[in-house]
C-alpha cells in the first residue's frame, strides 16, 4: 500500500479537506478524520463500488491520557472484500464528547460501540441500545481508561437478595 491508496484519492475528490492526516507505516494505511465526518466518510468508503469497504473488521478506542490534546482515539478497521485491502480510519475524541454512531452503516458496530462506551465512557449519539455489555450494570468507572487501577476500584462482597454490595479497595 503506497501513498496512492485509492480510498484517499476518492475521499479527497468527494469531500476536499476531510482527511486530516495520512499515516503509512508497517505496510498499513490509516487516516485521521474529524469525528463529525466519520459517518459520511464511512458511508462513502462502504458504498463506493470500486472501494467497497463493506466489512467492519474491528472497532475500538485507545486512551491517550496526557499524551495527546484530545484524550481518546476511536479506531475503525475497515476491510474490503472486493479488493482485499485494509484501511484504518481514526478520529480523535475529547473527554465528555460524544460521537455519532455508525450502526446505521454497519450493524456490526452495535456491540463494539457498546463495549467502547462501557470501557471508555464515550457516548455514541443515536445508538439503539447503549447498555453495558461485558460488565454489570452497577459497575462504577471505565476499566480501559489509563487512570483506572488494574485491580479495580472495588470488589463485590454480596450479590443477589441484598442487591450488589461493593467493598472499596484501598
Amino acid at each position: 500500500m503506497t501513498k496512492e491508496h485509492p480510498a484517499i484519492k476518492k475521499l479527497e475528490q468527494a469531500f476536499p479537506g476531510v482527511v486530516k492526516k495520512i499515516i503509512i507505516a508497517f505496510g498499513e494505511t490509516g487516516i485521521i478524520v474529524d469525528k463529525d465526518d466519520v459517518k459520511r466518510v464511512c458511508r462513502l468508503l462502504k458504498e463506493d463500488k470500486e472501494l467497497s469497504f463493506d466489512l467492519l473488521s474491528d472497532f475500538g478506542g485507545v486512551d491517550y491520557q496526557g499524551k495527546k490534546d484530545k484524550r481518546f482515539e476511536l479506531v475503525y478497521q475497515l476491510y474490503s472484500t472486493l479488493t482485499h485491502q485494509r484501511l484504518r480510519v481514526k478520529t480523535e475524541v475529547g473527554e465528555n464528547e460524544s460521537v455519532p454512531t455508525i450502526t446505521s452503516i454497519w450493524r456490526a458496530a452495535d456491540w463494539p460501540e457498546r463495549e467502547c462506551h462501557e470501557m471508555f465512557g464515550i457516548e455514541f449519539e443515536g445508538h439503539p441500545d447503549m447498555m453495558r455489555l461485558l460488565t454489570i450494570e452497577e459497575f462504577d468507572g471505565f476499566p480501559l481508561r489509563k487512570d483506572y487501577p488494574l485491580l479495580g476500584k472495588a470488589e463485590i462482597i454480596a450479590g443477589h437478595e441484598g442487591g450488589v454490595q461493593w467493598r472499596k479497595r484501598e
Binding site: E28, D54, L55, D58, H84, R107, L134
Partner: protein, 380 residues
Amino acid sequence: MGPQHPSTHGVLRVDLELDGEVILKAIPYLGHLHRGIEKLAENKTYHQVIPLTDRLDYLGPMVNNLGYALAVEKLLGLQMPERAQVIRVIMAELTRIQSHLVWMGTHVLDIGAMSPIMYCFREREQIMDIFEMVAGARMNPSYIRVGGVNGDVMSEARDKIAAFAETFPKHIKEYEDLLTNNPIWINRTKGVGKITAEEAINLGTTGPTLRSCGFKWDLRKTNPYSGYENYQFDFILGKNGDVYDRYRVRIEEMKQSIDLIKQGLKKLKPGPIYADEAKVIPPIKEKVMTDIGALIHHFKIISEGFKVPEGEVYQAIETPRGELGFYIVSDGSSKPYRVKIKTPSFMNLMALETLAKGRLLADVVAIIGSMDIVLGEIDK
C-alpha cells in the same frame, strides 16, 4: 436460556421472547467470563501477553498465539525462518481440526446424536498428544512465540503428525456416515438459521459462517500470512447459509487441513526455528549455562522484556471461527500501550438474533451450536 444451559457452550445467557414456540426476539447477554484481558495485556511485557492469548479461545490456542506473534513481529520487522513458518502452519491446521472436532461433537450432541462426540474426542486426543509432545502442554501451550516457536518438532512428533494425517480422513468418513445423509440430522439442520452473504457481512460475520453463504472468504488465501501463499488449497464454500451448510463447510475444512498438514510436512526442512534477532530472542539454554554474557542477555530479556518500535499495526488471521485481529499500539516501551483484540465469535454472535428470528425454540440450540462460539473470546 442460560447462563448454565449445556447448549450455550459456556456461560452465555440468551433472553428469548416467544410467541408459543416461535422466537420473536433473542438477545444475548455477555460478560460472565470477562477477565479484562485487554487491560491485563497493557500491564505486561510483550512476551507475557502470550499466555493470555491462549485463554481467549481455549479451543484454538495455537492460532491465538500466532495472531499475536505476527502482530508484534510486524512491529519489530522480523523475518521468520522457513522452518518456523512451516511449523506454525502445521500447528495452526492441527488446531483447526481439533477445534472443529470439539465443535462437531458438542453440536451434534445438542441436537441429540450421542455417538459422534465419543469418536470426535478419540481423534482429538491424538492431536492433544501431539501438542504435548511438541509444546509440553495440551490445552494452553503458549507454543508460538514472538520471533519463532518454542522448541523444535522432533522426528518422533513429526512421525506422529504424519501418522495422524494418514488415518484421520478415514475417521472423517465415519462421522459423515453417521450424519451427512441421516434424515433426522437433515430435518433438524437444513433450512434452519439461514442468512444471506450480504446480511452476514453487514453483521461482521466471518469464517465458516460466512463461507457457508457461498461467499469467497478466507484470509489465508486473500491476505496470506506465515507462508500460506506457498500452499495449494481452495476456498471451501457452502450455498444456502444454513446450519447444514455450516456443517458441510467445517467437514470439508478438516479434510483441507489434513491436506495442508501433508504439504507442510513435505516442506519441513532442517533449519532455525527462531528469527535471527538477539534483541528479541533469548539465547539458547546451553549457552546461558556456560557464558556469562549470554546469562546477562537472557536475564535482561526475561526481566525487562524487549522494546518494540513506536507505531500501530492491525494483524488479522483466519482462525477456526473466523477473523481474529490484533490491533497493537506501541509507545516504544517493552509493554504494549493498547491491545485491542477482535475476536471472531464476538462478531459472529451478533448474528444470533437474525438467525433465530421466526424459528422454533428447539432450533436455537442448533443455531448456537452451528456458529461455534467460544465464550472465552467473546467475553475477553
